[in-house]
């Protein structure tokens, strides 16, 4: 049975059109904008911005649905539409039961009121009478773990206590649907864990449906049953957490690195001291390859040269997976290099070390002259490749959770004879 059915939801915002340019750096421009014709902005009319465009999905009861996507993708707008805070421009949403939202930490909270007052205030905002709120009061205080601060104004609370109270109030409002927007970012690990556990338990036991917006991909893949990825206001992908999260992380990592040109700051493949000629991925027999199999050794070849005499060089690689630096390896010793010769450095990545997923390699060469004069040549994202497994068609790859590396470890299992039998 569906707890929430979202059908073709769109949301359009009308924002004022900017007056010529928004540049107001100089004093004169600032003065001019101050004395600009009143209402001029209004007369220019508004610009349409679509925060959401034709988003449809269905959520079963008891599902923890992860909502992921970059900043400004429309995740929060989606939650606001579902919680009725803003009205959609088109589409409709059908649902069951009470919707409780945690859109922002302490949104329904009055800082100068005590925790006790805030609990009742929040209950009222959720349409819950005082008498019922009073019954749940001790549960709320216990879960938030603020027994000694019930009559303290919440402005004196630490951000952790604040979060605990907000979360505790929300889950005790007997929601059928809980909307949680990036709320666990503030809490300590122990409380985060307790919240996630609670969310999962409630989903299983009471059929609570949770929409969980988070940038913590680890938490998303752990507690969600399904994940949707919102991109530019549209539903980009929907499916199993592991699939969507992996795809999202790869895309995010590519976005991050693709914009960097070799000449860009911090990424200079050539300089006054030398240049990196090329970087290739080679198989054991010296062929250039695009994606290596998991069971074979693979080599990264760095070709570089120097323009200056009396120079020592050292090469290094950074291996990334899903934006995580998996390893950094550098040549152990500095070697002397002479100008106008091309040098080749080879580094072996042993077989059965990498996992069956995407990797990116950044390459660096440090040229050192006269002890202190050091110059770095860097190629970010020099290589991007995907390691494939024994059975490339095996659909389970990516289905089960894998680490960023997958080395073959030695296991042993022995029968111990000296265990006393009861």
């Amino acid at each position: 049975m569906h707890s929430l059915v979202v059908e073709g939801i769109s949301k359009r915002y009308l924002v004022p059109r900017p007056l010529k340019s928004q540049r107001t750096e100089t004093r004169l421009e600032r003065l001019r904008s101050f004395f600009s014709i009143p209402l001029a902005r209004e007369l220019l009319g508004a610009q349409e911005v679509w925060a959401l465009r034709d988003v449809s999905f269905e959520v079963e009861r008891g599902t923890v649905l992860g909502v992921i996507g970059g900043n400004g993708a429309g995740k929060t707008t989606l939650l606001k539409v579902i919680s009725k805070v803003i009205a959609p421009t088109a589409g409709r949403i059908r649902g069951h039961g009470r919707v409780v939202s945690l859109l922002e930490l302490g949104a329904g909270f009055d800082d100068e009121a005590t925790a006790r007052e805030n609990i009742f205030m929040n209950a009222a905002i959720n349409g819950i009478p005082r008498s019922i709120a009073a019954e749940r009061f001790s549960d709320i205080v216990d879960f938030a773990d603020i027994q000694n601060f019930v009559d303290t104004p919440v402005m004196y609370f630490s951000s952790g206590m604040y979060l605990r109270l907000a979360f505790s109030v929300a889950i005790n409002m007997q929601p059928s649907i809980l909307l949680a927007d990036e709320i666990l970012a503030v809490g300590d690990l122990e409380f985060q864990e307790r919240c996630l556990q609670k969310v999962r338990d409630l989903a299983r036991e009471t059929g609570l449906t949770v929409l969980f917006v988070s940038h913590d991909m680890e938490a998303v893949s752990r507690i969600c049953n399904r994940v949707i990825w919102i991109k530019d206001g549209q539903l980009h992908r929907s499916g199993e957490p592991e699939d969507v999260v992996t795809e999202y992380q790869n895309a995010a990592w590519e976005m991050l690195t693709s914009g960097e040109k070799p000449e860009a700051k911090g990424s200079s493949h050539a300089g006054r001291y030398g240049e990196i000629v090329d970087v290739k991925l080679l198989s054991a027999d010296g062929r250039e390859i695009g994606s290596p199999p998991k069971w074979e050794d693979v080599y990264v070849r760095i070709r570089f040269r120097t323009y200056r005499a009396k120079t020592q060089a050292r090469c290094g690689v950074d291996l990334f997976c899903k934006g995580v630096l998996v390893l950094r390896s550098a040549q152990p010793d500095l070697i002397w290099v002479i100008p106008e010769m091309v040098y080749e450095a080879l580094v072996k990545i042993p077989a059965s070390l990498l996992s069956e997923t995407n990797y990116t390699i950044n390459v660096g060469v440090t040229l050192t002259r006269a002890e202190r004069e050091e110059h770095a040549l860097v190629v970010n994202r020099a290589l991007t490749f995907m390691v494939y497994g024994a059975d490339a068609k095996d659909a389970s790859a990516g289905k089960h959770r894998m680490g960023v590396i997958d080395p073959t470890l030695e296991w042993s299992l022995e029968k111990k004879a000296d265990v006393v039998r009861a």
């Binding site: 049975m1 009861r61 059908r94 039961g97 329904g108 009742f120 009222a124 905002i125 989903a203 752990r222």
Partner: protein
Amino acid sequence: MSSAPEPLSAINVSGESLWLIEPRRDGVIDKLRELWRYRYLWWYFAADALKAMYRRTKLGWIWLVIRVTAPVGISALIFGGVLGIASDGPPYFLFFSCGMTTWILFERSLLVVTRSLERNRKLITKVYFPRLILPLSAVAPGLLYLAILLIVIFFTVIYYRRYEGLWYITLRPELLAAVAAILLTLVFTVSVGLWTSVLQARYPDVRQGIRYFMPFWMYFTPIIYPLTIIPEQWRWLIGLNPMASIVEMFKWGTLGYGHLHPTSMTISFAMIGLTLISGIWFFNREEASSIDKL
């Protein structure tokens, strides 16, 4: 690791309400029903609006008393004492205070009501509740001012009994008209506020405008002067200002000196009704889009 959901048939869903969100707005009747469901919230917003009046001050509630008595006292002294405006019978201070009672409720409330959506921006862009609660509960500060002024009037009456031996206000059935005048003021304030609060959310100029417009409105209301200074044949025109009729009604109910003109009363009531109906319509229509602009 992933937790398998329970078989769905095992979960009891009875007693859970179905809801629907569409771009189309709910009808006014649905809105009012929802307003009742959220009635617990009224007090919180009312209390919040009251606390906001003297937040962080050391004198606390004493400021409220000063803010009512000082302007009324000084104005009465200038208009009645220095300028010697006639009051048509009762002592000028009493005449002026009675005129001010409903006016102060209107004026002070309208400013708070106008800002009610804007002031709770943080809340209404994050949590859903019927937004109509905000302008409705924002009359609380005005009611408190009214209560203070009524207490002042009470002691003034006692004072005149003691030193002049006259009861200027007595318990008689006409007092009900004064009560009705207060209720009408509330209705009128909220009705105007339904328009201004939505407009204020978009154009912050509204509050500035009201601030400067209010004193003029007060001069067009028979508070500092009696209605009798207006020539008889033009007196009905004052009905175009509903506050004038309300003020007269209050004075008639308390002091017994007011002038209730049937034509102007009818015009005023019609205008209040019109403002109320159009206000509800406007608020319901524009509420959602003004929240986008907050």
